[in-house]
Symmetry: C2
Amino acid sequence: MSNLKELPVLQPGTIADATGAAVVPCCAPLSREPLGAEDAERVAVMFKALGDPVRLRLFSQIASHPGGEACVCDIQDVGVSQPTVSHHLKKLRDAGLVTSERRGSWVYYKVTPSVVAALGGVLR
Amino acid sequence: MSNLKELPVLQPGTIADATGAAVVPCCAPLSREPLGAEDAERVAVMFKALGDPVRLRLFSQIASHPGGEACVCDIQDVGVSQPTVSHHLKKLRDAGLVTSERRGSWVYYKVTPSVVAALGGVLR
DNA sequence: CCTCGGTATTGACGTCTGTCGATATCGGCA
DNA sequence: TGCCGATATCGACAGACGTCAATACCGAGG
């Protein structure tokens, strides 16, 4: 039936700390200690996802919508074709930065706050 | 002669890389308002620079060295050849994330804290 | 001046990525 | 049931990217 709830490619193995605060995928701030090869691999995927102007705008549109979520139909005017928009949204989702959910005819994309916060934390 | 130093209205803290291209810690948080096309272009360059595992490790090594700077000779063991290391360091520099300085035979790379901080601020 | 160690540049190569048009899928609705 | 709007997938293509070996450049010492 519904294809919702498909697990993200991001493997969340290391996410929750003892307090239960979900903080994501990984890693101390970059300036604290050198990143290991595996961690670098994982974090790079997320930075790379934000490393394209179109994706960055899509992500920004989603994030700045009320509730941190937006219907695809609301964010399609970024200057590329509809298939390309879909392709970029998929990349954002594969990177774990957003999740998607179908509601009737429309699909809504929502930011994953913990992942974004963790990514920001890495840059400190 | 001097490059034309025409730059748009932007925050202080403008960073010029070796080529004179202005790279700026720009923009409000992504979740505050949708990113414009040019801002997205500029920010994406920085995220893209961090979107490669090797560069991420190099950057992390530089950032975690005392003083936020490191000699190239200290960070060459990331599993790729010397030319490749040099190529990646150049990309980090072009993105405005680090600067480089020659001291005698060695070259030191140093993080640009304002840029990194701004990048982190965008992820809020 | 010449050599040497450290770093950058060049040129080539295979792979990845962004893009599009065409088409498939999925719900709502007449 | 059949059509339609919304979104995803497919196939193709050009250009960007990561990588290396070879080589050039640049200071320090002899």
